[in-house]
Symmetry: C2
Subunit: 308 residues, 2 copies
């Protein structure tokens, strides 16, 4: 089973798959990667890694649990910008990643090393080792991703999105193989524009998704017209899409066999089926581990994947 993932939604779903006893490959967005204080920071990769390692801060959804902030506090005292929260333990990830990247190790290999050190058994793959930067056009101008998302708390209307560098990016080793070789391919309930499209946009990935023999399942991140988390609803709206699981389904036409929508959206079954999708209506809200595992088992079942 292969999961295409952004941050929290993808992390929780992948965690559910692991809890269900299946070891997934997780292909992760890097369009939100940023450099701060000279460090290479890959927030989506880290959210997935920490969640799968059981080390993430469940309450916030990102970062490590039990964090301290001695370095960040001192950085502020030294006059550095500290709007991007970096815990002391989290910093070790960015330091190790940065040092290894500077030493010439590609991001995919660094990711595999870090994940192994933290005891992650799933295979974590950045979609590409090349730099891709999701940039947001807003009424205040073009914003870098973390500037938009963290610093300005995704309050700006998104009028357009550019995935800078994506046309020159090559899929990381293993990415195309895991998409074409999977028997189940899951698009996680991640933001379509900020997480999924910058994965699909890396040359070769969309084609692999279109042509794989895998059963392809997507979970809608929009429930009852609202995003479970983050700005997915606003972005759908300002970019002229219907703010619903149906609007999401339209984005995934030709890429997905089964759309999974929440019980709250049962009424959308017909319209989504009319687009040519199979539809699974279920409880898609993953709270704790039990909810994640339950949803993962349902996805495995609908895809006909053996569940241990």
């Amino acid at each position: 089973m292969t999961v295409l993932a952004g941050g929290v939604g993808g992390a929780r779903l992948a965690h559910g798959v692991v809890l269900a006893g299946v070891r997934p490959d997780v292909v992760v967005n890097v369009g939100d990667d940023t450099r701060l204080h000279g460090l290479w920071i890959s927030p989506d990769l880290d959210t997935v890694m920490y969640t799968l390692a059981g080390l993430n801060d469940e309450e916030r959804g990102w970062g490590l649990s039990g964090e301290t902030y001695a370095t960040l506090t001192q950085l502020a005292a030294l006059g550095e910008d500290t709007w991007f929260t970096l815990g002391d333990k989290d910093l070790a990830t960015h330091l190790a990643r940065t040092a290894r990247l500077l030493g010439g190790v590609p991001l995919s290999e660094v990711t595999a090393q870090l994940a192994a050190s933290l005891g992650v058994t799933a295979r974590l793959l950045p979609v590409t080792d090349d730099p891709v930067a999701t940039l947001l056009d807003t009424p205040s101008g073009r914003l870098a991703f973390q500037e938009y998302f963290v610093r300005r708390q995704h309050a700006d209307a998104v009028l357009g999105i550019t995935y800078e560098g994506i046309d020159a990016a090559r899929p990381a080793p293993g990415v195309l193989d895991t998409v074409t070789g999977a028997d189940v391919l899951v698009i996680a309930p991640s933001n379509p524009f900020l997480s999924v499209l910058p994965v699909l946009g890396v040359p070769g990935v969309r084609e692999a998704v279109e042509t794989t023999a895998a059963r392809r399942v997507a979970v809608s991140p929009i429930v009852g017209g609202q995003a479970i988390k983050g700005p997915a609803a606003q972005i759908l709206e300002t970019l002229g899409h219907e703010v619903s699981a149906l609007g999401v389904a339209r984005l995934y036409e030709g890429l997905v066999d089964v759309m999974v929508v929440d019980d709250a959206d049962a009424a959308l079954r017909g319209p989504i089926e009319d687009l040519g999708f199979e539809v699974l209506v279920t409880d898609t809200i993953m709270g704790g581990p039990a909810g994640r595992e339950r949803l993962a088992r349902e996805l495995l079942a609908v895809a006909g994947h053996p569940v241990p």
Copy 2:
């Protein structure tokens, strides 16, 4: 008053000068600078900066007091080498320095910024903005400075020393001016080979010391045939010098007017005077702030500098 300094000895003496009510310029060795985890680390500069800020760990002599080690512990968990101890607060210094250097700000300016942020009123000057690396030839081969000093605890016999890059290094802005414009120039009781010579070796600095109108005062780091701290005694010996304040004085011929030796070395007054030095015999062991201030006042007095 200008102080040529390495780490602890220079830091304590400069601190004493500040406590005596004089604001010194401190020209600091960078031959011990290192890169670890992708960070630019300047241990001597930081020791002086932290000491002058009143933030240093007095017991160890280096680093910040009240440190925590969450990042280092996690770096170890990620498989990174952690033989070089980096506290969480200390890391902020290295992160800020590295980010600013990467942004094109020279080390001297970064140093001034960081020192100002920490409330240091003395002027801290790296001897050069260019890279200089003190390398030690030992029976185990050539070692980088921190490899020799920290990782291997300066246990290797030093058979030769190279200051890599020093011939191409230019004095940082202000360095030559503060040497030639000082009325008192102090060579701190730092290791002659590991701290002082890589300062004097930057093209132009030795000439400035030779020709300045300042009263030039050096404090011997060797007391009773022993180094106050570190491997100065061993290095003097393996490089064929007398392990005494007299041996140190010989290294400073033509560069210093007044040699300051400890009461324990009163018997060396004659031989050192025979080399053409004035000699001040006093208690050179700086323990706490009171001892530092006392020694600084004696140096100011012997140099005829007004003491507030």
